[in-house]
């Protein structure tokens, strides 16, 4: 199989390329990147006026399988990923059962082998049952192919256990991905604590519940000299703490999600349960701080925190509804609208945040369009406007706050492993 992408604006920050070029793909790899490639490729794609970039890498995705196949499966989740231009996902370990032992990871690996439509990377839990009490066997999990560990959805409350986790993770060279939340401070809240929670008469989640835990985890990781990754950063103080840690040369990286720089807590005012997210949508000031963090390099990556939930779990009273929203199919558009169009980032930097940097953080050889690389490439019509319709969502769950909203920037084609895996 050979494939030639012609005349696209190729953006490949790893090789400092932003130019109208052709890309030739042979045997699943990129074999040539040049002007006017003459080749008898089996398939030729005209990408004139389109952006050609490495497939995006989403570090925070809940595929829900095994256990909650009613919400999402590896098959449906990775299909949704391809539609959104995502060619690699890091699957979160809070499945049922959680990825806390070799047997469960083996089970997951089998499903991935059978059903995955894009590259699925595995993470495992830090503690057994994600209960924060007893560490999992990092050595064995690593051997089974796990790249990162996280108790996502929860944070390990006991600092001694967390410190030991950092020491062991360093030894095994595992990425520790921290969901930072002190549940004693978030206190069963459901929206950002402040005027919004007061107005809605709902329990609030304080900013401290996030940034105090960010501060603690940075401290513990620094002590163990272990690399730490802070996921789904939502408040200004967290951005400040991460910026400071980077200045002190602590080995730290961070991601945020498209909803934290595109929506404020005001989106919750109509009690739309698709805006019920943890951490919650925050203030306009936080949105500014997140954007500034992306701009100045404090925040390295953009992830989706794709969190599918069934209609039954969302079409109920706000305080009873599940936390989370889907994001695989809308993330790139939101990033283009909020970051490129509003001149926060240029295209090269955006591609770094959604592809190159996640690859570096996860230690995988992806996120670039160099010769010899895996041919994971997307073609994007950056100016194409469309309405996100519920019936067009590929993910098994439809819990998006962007339904019926006008978005801009559409993935026209996703090439995964050298093959056209999605095309509009």
């Amino acid at each position: 199989m050979s494939l030639l992408i012609k005349n696209g604006l190729v953006i490949d920050p790893a090789n400092k390329i932003k130019d109208i070029l052709d890309i030739l793909i042979e045997k699943n790899k990129i074999s040539k990147v040049d002007k006017n490639i003459k080749s008898k490729a089996q398939t030729i794609i005209d990408a004139r006026n389109k952006i050609v970039m490495p497939g995006t890498i989403d570090m925070h995705v809940h595929l829900r399988e095994p256990g909650r196949e009613d919400k999402e499966t590896i098959f449906t989740g990775t299909k949704a990923a391809l539609k959104g231009g995502v060619t690699s996902v890091l699957a979160m370990p809070n499945t049922e059962p959680a990825m806390d032992c070799v047997n469960n990871v083996k089970l997951l690996k089998n499903i991935i082998r059978k059903d995955a439509q894009c590259n699925v990377l595995m993470s495992a839990a830090i503690t057994k049952g994600r209960l924060g009490k007893e560490l999992t066997d990092f050595t064995k999990l690593k051997k089974e192919g796990v790249l990162a560990i996280s108790d996502d959805g929860a944070s390990v409350d006991d600092a001694k256990i967390m410190l030991e986790a950092f020491y062991r993770a360093k030894k095994e060279n595992l990425l520790v991905l921290c969901h930072c939340e002190d549940k004693s401070l978030s206190n069963k809240g459901v929206v950002n604590l402040g005027f919004t929670s007061t107005r809605l008469g709902l329990k609030g989640i304080s900013r401290e519940s996030e940034y105090k835990r960010v501060g603690r985890d940075i401290e513990l990781a620094a002590k163990a000299k272990c690399t730490v990754h802070i996921t789904h950063v939502s408040v200004k103080e967290s951005v400040d703490l991460i910026r400071m840690a980077k200045k002190k040369n602590i080995k730290i990286s961070a991601d945020t999600c498209a909803h934290y720089f595109s929506l404020t807590e005001e989106a919750v005012l109509n009690y739309d349960t698709n805006t019920k997210i943890n951490p919650p949508l925050r203030s306009a000031e936080d949105v500014q701080a997140i954007k500034e963090g992306l701009r100045d390099g404090t925040i390295d990556a953009i992830a989706s925190d794709h969190a599918p939930h069934t209609q039954n779990e969302k079409d109920i009273e706000f305080d009873r509804a599940e936390f989370g929203k889907i994001g695989l199919e809308s993330g790139l558009s939101i990033s283009i609208m909020e970051l490129i169009d509003k001149k926060i980032l240029d295209w090269e930097t955006l591609v770094e945040k959604i592809s190159l940097n996640p690859a570096k953080i996860l230690g995988i050889k992806k996120g670039t369009l160099g010769v010899g690389q895996d041919a994971d490439i997307i073609i994007v019509d950056r100016d194409k406007e469309f309405i996100l319709k519920k019936e067009n969502i590929v993910s098994k769950s439809k819990n998006s706050p962007f339904i019926d909203k006008k978005l801009k920037g559409l993935v026209e084609c996703t090439i995964f492993n050298g093959e056209i895996a999605y095309k509009i």
Partner: protein, 309 residues
């Protein structure tokens, strides 16, 4: 003015003119309640369903009386006797009531936003009879109606609200309504019962009741809900009465004709002494009477508007 709202969900969502229109309409209905035959045919052939997920006597009875005085048929559903316990969702329950061709659902629910959600999913009218800590619009409307009757106007008045503001839907609805009508509103509670950033609603906040009541033309005293004290950080009952209770001694230092209100039920000797509750400044029972007229007005107005979903 022409009323255009299918639902009454909260005073946050009404304009000053709409609030005044409800109150003016209520005034004409109040006259009905003084007649020998206290009934008008305004909602004859309409069905009002009281859907109550929380125990309530006074609000439910008030709505029932209001609907009956408008000649509507009234059905009461309470959580104990419904299929809710079988796991039916609120939206499904609402759709079933709609399928029975009811015209108005009056809903009381412990979850904030329950009425908003129901209204979004139904074509028939939804009237919020109290949702969580969010809003209790008809209570605030009857409070404001009573104030207007007693003091002639709302604009420029100094109104104090004392008590558990954090968990009070009555407080939120009153604040939205009073501020829109031009009153100056002061709130007072122990700090743990002051919700964050509430001053953004336009109120003055204090923890000192005497400071709060100074120059007040009226005070609305809220029920203390000690059962909500998860943190064990509320003041104890006697301590609360000493520091925040409305006593005869406190009242003596205030404007002579200050209007004392309470949405009920009263904890006598906790938020208010019996002498004050039963004293000459108290309009607590008039509030109950006015509740009928205000709810007649609300049911009458929303029934005129058809939803289009």
């Amino acid at each position: 003015m022409i009323w255009t709202k299918k639902d009454l969900l909260g005073l946050e969502y009404l304009t000053k003119e709409e609030i005044e229109f409800v109150l003016d309409t209520a005034s004409s209905f109040k006259e009905v309640t003084t007649r020998e035959i206290k009934k008008v045919p305004a909602l004859r052939g309409k069905t009002v369903v009281n859907l109550f997920y929380e125990p309530s006597t006074r609000t439910r009875v008030s709505f029932e009386v209001a609907a009956k005085r408008l000649s509507a048929d009234v059905i009461n559903i309470s959580v104990e006797s419904s299929s809710v316990k079988k796991g039916e969702t609120l939206i499904d329950t609402g759709r079933n009531i709609e399928a029975l061709k009811a015209d108005i659902i009056v809903i009381r629910h412990s979850s904030s936003g329950a009425a908003n959600m129901l209204a979004r999913h139904l074509n028939i009218s939804v009237v919020n009879a109290g949702d969580g800590w969010h809003e209790h619009p008809t209570q605030a409307l009857l409070d404001i109606f009573t104030l207007r009757e007693k003091l002639g106007k709302i604009a420029g008045l100094n109104i104090s609200i004392v008590g558990d503001i954090a968990h009070s839907r009555v407080a939120r609805s009153n604040i939205w309504g009073l501020i829109k009508l031009g009153a100056r509103v002061s709130i007072c509670a122990p700090q743990i019962l002051i919700p964050p950033e509430i001053e953004k609603m336009g109120v003055r906040v204090t923890n000192n009741i005497d400071e709060c009541l100074k120059n007040a033309d009226a005070v609305n005293v809220l029920r203390m809900q000690f059962e909500r004290d998860e943190t064990n950080a509320f003041p104890r009952q006697l301590e609360y009465f000493k520091n925040f209770g409305l006593t005869k001694e406190r009242l003596a230092k205030l404007k002579k004709d200050i209007v004392v209100m309470h949405p009920g039920p009263i904890n006598r000797g906790i938020e208010m002494s019996s002498e004050v509750a039963d004293g000459s400044n108290s309009v607590i029972l008039e509030q109950v009477t006015n509740g009928i007229a205000v709810r007649m007005s609300v049911l009458f107005l929303v029934a005129q508007v058809k939803g289009i979903k």
